[in-house]
Symmetry: C2
Subunit: 424 residues, 2 copies
C-alpha cells in the first residue's frame, strides 16, 4: 500500500468534504419529484450498465479468492445480473416512499405572538462506513438521496472496484438529471489513516453510520468526533416463561435461531423457566438438533438434552452469528430480565407467555430497542416494520433506536416567525 502523508490526507478529505457541502445545499433545494426521477434514472442505468458492474466485480472477486476470502464473504461480495436488478429495484422502491423532508412535525404559537414550526430537514452530509457488500453502495445512496443528504461512502477494500463502478454509474445518472453528482462520493483512498481522519471530519460531516461487524463499529465509536449512530450487534434473547404456550415456543425459537444465521436479529440465547424445563426442553432440543444447532446449556438443560455441551459464562455474552445457541434455565421472570439486561446488546429480546401482566413487565423492564411478546426476534427490520427501507438497526438510545428508515436520516429545525418581538 502506498503511504500517504498527513498533509495529503487533509487535502483529500477537505476536498471531499467541501464537495459534499456544496452538494448538500443543492439537494436541500430539490423537490420530491426531482429526487424520485433521479432515483429511477439511477436504477435504470445500473441495469443498463450491468456488464460494466460485473466486470469490476470480477476484479474484486478474483483478488478476494486469491486472498483466500471465506466462502460466506465471497458470496456477499459477488454481483450477478439478478443482484444488480435487486439493487435497482431497491432504488425504485425508495422512490415510492413518502418524502419525510419538509414535514411540519409540530406547530405552536407563543403568548407573545411568535409562531414556531418544527420542520423536518435533511441531516446534511452523511458518512457511511461499511464492509464488503457492494449492494450497500446503491442502497445507502438511495436512502440518503431521498432524504436530501449528500453521502460520502467508505466501503471495504475488498469490494473497491465494485463500489467504484456502482458509484460512477449513479454519478452519471445524476449528471444526466442535472443534479450535482457529488450527492454521492466514494472515498477512493483505502489507507487506514485516511479512514481514521475521515471519522474526525466534523466540520463537513453531520453524522457517521457504520454498517458492519462489531470490530468496525467499535473502531468508529472510539475514533469518531462526528456524531455516530451505532448499528448492529445483536445478542438477542428469547425467554420461555412458565406461562408460555409451548406449541408456539418451538416454532418461534427455531425461526429466530435458524431462519437466517449471521444476522443481527437472530436469537443467540434462550432462557427457560425452570418450572417448564422438563416439558419444553426435550422437544425443543430435538427440533434444534434437527436443524444442526449446537446447544450450550447449564446442568438442567443438559439433563433434558443429553447432546448439549456445557455453557460457560462467556457463552451468554456471545453473538455467535452461527448455528450455536446458549440455553439457560431461570427461576423467575425477574431473573430472566436481569440476565437479559446484563448480557444483551440492546437489540431485540422476546418473552413467550400467555400471561399479560408478565408480558407487560418484560416489555417495560428489558432495556432493548425492540421487545417482543410471542413473536420471533427476526422481525426487527425496517421492511418488516413497514418503513419500506432500512439504513440499519440502531442499538444506541440517542436519535434513533431499532430499525432506521428514511425519517431516521433526518433532523429538524425550528422556524420562528414574528413581527418585531424582542425579549423583555
Amino acid at each position: 500500500m502506498e503511504s500517504i502523508s498527513a498533509a495529503e490526507i487533509d487535502e483529500y478529505l477537505t476536498q471531499l468534504g467541501t464537495k459534499a457541502q456544496i452538494a448538500k445545499t443543492v439537494l436541500r433545494g430539490l423537490d420530491t419529484a426531482q429526487k424520485n426521477r433521479a432515483l429511477a434514472r439511477a436504477a435504470e442505468m445500473l441495469v443498463q450498465e450491468s456488464e460494466r458492474l460485473l466486470l469490476a466485480n470480477e476484479k474484486d472477486y478474483v483478488r478476494a479468492k486469491e486472498n483466500d476470502m471465506a466462502e460466506g464473504l465471497l458470496d456477499r461480495l459477488k454481483l450477478t445480473t439478478a443482484r444488480i436488478e435487486a439493487m435497482a429495484e431497491g432504488l425504485r422502491q425508495i422512490a415510492t416512499l413518502p418524502d419525510p423532508v419538509g414535514e411540519v412535525m409540530e406547530s405552536f404559537d407563543r403568548p407573545n405572538g411568535l409562531h414556531i414550526e418544527k420542520v423536518r430537514v435533511p441531516m446534511g452530509v452523511t458518512g457511511i462506513i461499511y464492509e464488503a457488500r457492494p449492494n450497500v453502495t446503491a442502497d445507502a445512496f438511495g436512502l440518503c438521496f431521498k432524504t436530501g443528504n449528500a453521502v460520502i461512502l467508505k466501503g471495504g477494500r475488498d469490494a473497491f472496484y465494485s463500489n467504484q463502478a456502482i458509484t460512477e454509474v449513479i454519478r452519471e445518472a445524476l449528471e444526466e438529471e442535472g443534479i450535482d453528482k457529488n450527492a454521492i462520493q466514494l472515498m477512493e483512498k483505502n489507507d487506514r489513516a485516511v479512514t481514521t481522519a475521515f471519522m474526525k471530519l466534523k466540520e463537513y460531516v453531520d453524522v457517521l453510520i457504520p454498517r458492519g461487524g462489531a470490530g468496525l463499529i467499535r473502531s468508529v465509536v472510539e475514533n469518531s468526533t462526528v456524531p455516530v449512530i451505532e448499528t448492529g450487534t445483536g445478542n438477542c434473547h428469547i425467554y420461555i416463561d412458565e406461562a408460555a404456550d409451548l406449541t408456539k415456543a418451538v416454532p418461534i425459537v427455531i425461526n429466530a435461531k435458524t431462519q437466517r444465521i449471521g444476522v443481527c436479529n437472530a436469537c443467540e440465547s434462550l432462557l427457560v423457566h425452570e418450572k417448564i424445563a422438563e416439558r419444553i426442553l426435550p422437544a425443543l432440543g430435538k427440533a434444534l438438533l434437527e436443524k444442526q444447532v449446537e446447544i450450550r446449556g447449564d446442568e438442567t438443560v443438559r439433563e433434558q438434552i443429553p447432546e448439549a455441551q456445557a455453557a460457560t459464562e462467556e457463552d451468554y455474552g456471545r453473538e455467535y452469528l452461527d448455528l450455536v445457541l446458549s440455553v439457560k434455565t431461570v427461576g423467575s421472570l425477574e431473573e430472566a430480565i436481569a440476565h437479559i439486561n446484563k448480557y444483551n446488546t440492546g437489540h431485540s429480546d422476546a418473552i413467550l407467555t400467555e400471561d399479560q401482566a408478565r408480558a407487560q413487565k418484560f416489555l417495560r423492564e428489558v432495556d432493548s430497542a425492540c421487545v417482543y411478546v410471542n413473536a420471533s426476534t427476526r422481525f426487527t427490520d425496517g421492511f418488516e416494520f413497514g418503513f419500506g427501507a432500512e439504513i440499519g438497526i440502531s442499538t444506541q438510545k440517542l436519535h434513533a433506536r431499532g430499525p432506521m428508515g428514511l425519517r431516521e436520516l433526518t433532523s429538524y429545525k425550528y422556524q420562528v416567525t414574528g413581527n418585531g418581538q424582542v425579549r423583555p
Copy 2:
C-alpha cells in the same frame, strides 16, 4: 492535586456506573406522582438546608477569590438565599410539567398481525459535565429525575463544595421518599484523568451532555466514546434585508446584542443589505454606541458609523460573549445566507424583512437549529419556546436540535406483541 492510578480510576468509575445502573432500573419503575413528590421534597429540603448550602458555597467563594477568579464568574458561583429559593422553585416547576415517559408515540399493526407500539422511555444514565454554576446541579437533577434518568454529575472544581452540599441534600430528600439516592451522584474526584475516563464509560452511561464554554464542549466531543449532545456555542447573526421594516430593526438588534451578553443566543454578527445601509446604519450605530457596544465593520459600515473599528475576517467567526458586534454589508440575500452558513455555529440566525418569499428562502436555506423572521435571536430558550424547562441548546443535528426540554432527555423502544408469528 493528589495523583490517582489508572486502577483506582477504573474502580471508582465502575462503582459510580454500577450504582447508576441500579438506580436507573428503580427510576424506570416510578410513576409520575412518586417522581413529583420527590421533586417537591428535594425543593423543600434545599430551602430548609439553606444555611448548609451557603456555608459550603462560602468555602468555594473564598478559595475562588484567593485564586483571583474574574468578577463575572464569581457572581455565577455565588449562592444567596434568593438563589437557593430559585433553585427550589425550578424543581417545583419541573414537577408541574407533563411526564413524557410512557407516551405511546406511534402505534401500528402489520399485515401479519403484529402490533407495534413506539413508546417513550428514559435514556437510562445521563452524564452532565459542567462548569462553575452550582444551580446547574439541582437543575440537571430535576430534569433527569423527571424523565426517569439516573444522573452522574461532574461539576467544575471551583464549585465543588457547593455542588457536594446540593447533591447531599437532594440525596437525603430521595432517601426520605424511599427512592434510591443514587438517582443523583456527583463525581468527587476532580482529577482530569478521571474526567477523561468518565467520557469513555460507555458500558454505564447512555448519553453525555456538556454544558459550558467552547473549550469544555470540544474536549468532550474529542474524548468521549459515549454518545454526546453538543450544546452551546452560538455565533448568532441578524440579517437586515433590503425589504426590512427599519422601525423593527433597531429594537431587535439592540435586544439581541445587549439584553444579556455572555449568552449563547445573543447576536454576535450583523449583516446589512447594501441598498439600505445608508438609511439604517447611522441610527443603528447611534443606538449601539449608546449601549456601549463596540462595532467592528467593513468599509461601508465605517463610512456610516465613524466610530466603528475595522473588522477582520476573524471577527466574523467570533462568539464575543461581550459588548462587541461585527457588522458587514452584503449585496444580496444569497450572499447573506452564504456568509451565515459559512460562519455560524448552527445555533440561531434571523432575517428582518417584510418580503414573505425572501423570509421563506432564509428559513429554508440557513442551516441552524433556530431560524427567525422579524424577531430577536434571544428567544432560543426552552422556557421561551414553552417547554417549561431546558437542559441546554443543542447545536448538533443528531437526536435533538435547538432548545432541549424533558422530551429530549428520553429515548424510545418498540414494543411488539404477537401470537406466535415467525418470519417466513
